[in-house]
Amino acid sequence: MNADIVPAVSLEEVEAGYHDHDRVLQRVSLNARPHRLTAILGPNGSGKSTALRVLAGFVRPRSGFVRLGEREITDEPTHRRLELGLAFLPQGRSVFPSLSVQENLLLGAWHIRSDAVRVRSAMEAAFDRYPTLVSVRRRRAGSLSGGQQRLLEIARLLMTDPSILLIDEPSAGLSPKLADLAYAEIDRLRAEGRTIVLVDQNVRAAIDLADDVYILAFGRNESSGPREQYADLDRLVREWLSGGGARVSD
């Protein structure tokens, strides 16, 4: 990868875990180039979701650094990272089902809530971007179809117009048709110039979409490079299997 470009967001030698002794990530480093899509892939338990949660500020590293451009943000809390333009879409359904569509969007603007003008224009932009949400804006989000819920999640993520998006398993639990819809939407976000870091179980779709690929295994950097390097999917999967990517939990 081109060394003279400052990455939009990066991990440097990060060690992290959830309990006292587990080391889910061991000296993991990662650079996400600006305006590109970086996919983090790997077998179950490789630490890819944890890497994303470290970027989002949900998990604090024990050592190592998290950077946004050249700025170190290792100890910045989630809401500060949002203010800096870094937004996180967690795994699984994340709409608030008992709140209305409109309320879900409003909460996407939580950290700019004191700026009524900005909130209103963000709301209008969201409805312009996803006109199918207009007619259901007063309905409870839980009553929407799976595809509409996914669009609402993305619309909510965009309320503060973040420049970097961290997306965890966008197609989990969706039918193939809706998964395609989600990937098309992610492609569009990248085309708009946003930087995207994507974690995905769906290796083929993620590599199709990615500019750069990072492979993690057992919580370590396994390999990384441009997409073309990972064109031979079958070999990749064989390597994972022979490399014993058999730990089950993530």
């Binding site: 989002a56 949900f58 989630t78 809401h79 949002l82 203010e83 937004a87 996180f88 879409l89 967690p90 359904r93 994340s94 709409v95 608030f96 089902p97 008992s98 709140l99 309320e103 879900n104 409003l106 909460l107 996407g108 939580w110 950290h111 809530r113 839980g142 909510r156």
Partner: protein
């Protein structure tokens, strides 16, 4: 039953219902939003009644001014309990929190017994005890006030949860705490606020009880049963569901009391509870998500 008796019972039932709803609101809020069963709810309720008695009968304060003292104090108690007692054990199994709050119940009850003994208490209601009539309905100012304050508290909580950004964030946290944090909502602080409001509502209901009933420190368990009854019948759907359940139980109690001997009243109400549990695990009015 003639029409006058009916109207009188209807008015009594509605007033009782709003007081019952106020008794259950805090419990329903902490359970619905935080998933915490506040076992100490009723002990705090009676602590508030006893404090009101002390302020009014002991220090000569006007009963309505008790709110200005008790509610801020209970907000602080609630915030403290969540911040210093519940938060440190939040990753432990739910039973730890339940035990901790049961411990708080014992501490509050023992403290109340040590200070106020087991004597039944009645608050002096100077200035608000006048009897008032509207057509065939007769009641007293204090009962009407207590019911009105209960209704206003419920409406206030409803508007807070539905119309303010912090209220929406609270409901969002109840739905999906992880997703709420991802949007920059400080769920730790919001949990402290939610528990503080829940305990403050217990404080408010305690004053309403002090305005309308005779009470003693050990009697609070009856109110705990009542609060649970209302939460179970109403489900954790919303403030409206809690109020509806409170009214249903207030009216049932009043009308059953009119038709059957006194000792059957509780029997009928608990039959209603059993029916609620059997017919619909989440209560009659619960939505599928069981959330505030």
């Amino acid at each position: 039953m003639n029409i006058d008796t009916f109207l009188q019972a209807l008015a009594n039932g509605v007033m009782l219902g709003f007081i019952y709803a106020a008794v259950a609101l805090g419990l329903s809020l902490t359970l619905g939003v935080l998933g915490i069963v506040n076992m100490a709810h009723s002990a705090l309720l009676i602590l508030s009644s006893l404090l009101t008695w002390q302020l009014v009968n002991g220090f000569g304060l006007h009963p309505l001014l008790a709110f200005l003292v008790v509610i801020p104090a209970f907000l602080l108690i609630g915030a403290g309990v969540q911040r210093w007692l519940l938060r440190p054990i939040r990753r432990q199994p739910e039973s730890s929190g339940l035990l901790l709050l049961f411990g708080l119940l014992i501490v509050v009850e023992s403290l109340a017994l040590a200070i106020w003994t087991t004597d039944p208490r009645t608050v002096r209601l100077e200035g608000i005890s006048a009897s008032i009539s509207l057509g065939p309905i007769t009641t007293t100012t204090n009962r009407l006030l207590a019911a009105a304050i209960g209704a206003v508290a419920a409406l206030g909580l409803h508007l807070f949860l539905q119309r303010t950004m912090v209220g929406r964030a609270t409901r969002a946290m109840a739905d999906n705490s992880d997703a709420a944090s991802a949007l920059g909502i400080d769920t730790g602080r919001l949990s402290v606020l939610t528990f503080a409001i829940g305990v403050a509502l217990a404080g408010l209901a305690g004053i309403l009880i002090a305005m309308t009933f005779t009470f003693s420190p050990q009697e609070h368990v009856r109110w705990l049963a009542w609060a649970f009854l209302i939460v179970i019948v109403g489900g954790l759907g919303s403030v409206a569901a809690t109020v509806t359940a409170g009214l249903a139980i207030g009216l049932t109690e009043t009308f059953v009391g009119l038709l059957l001997p006194f000792q059957f009243v509780h029997l009928v109400i608990y039959a209603l509870l059993a029916t609620a549990l059997i017919a619909r695990g989440g209560g009659f009015m619960a939505r599928s998500e069981r959330r505030i």
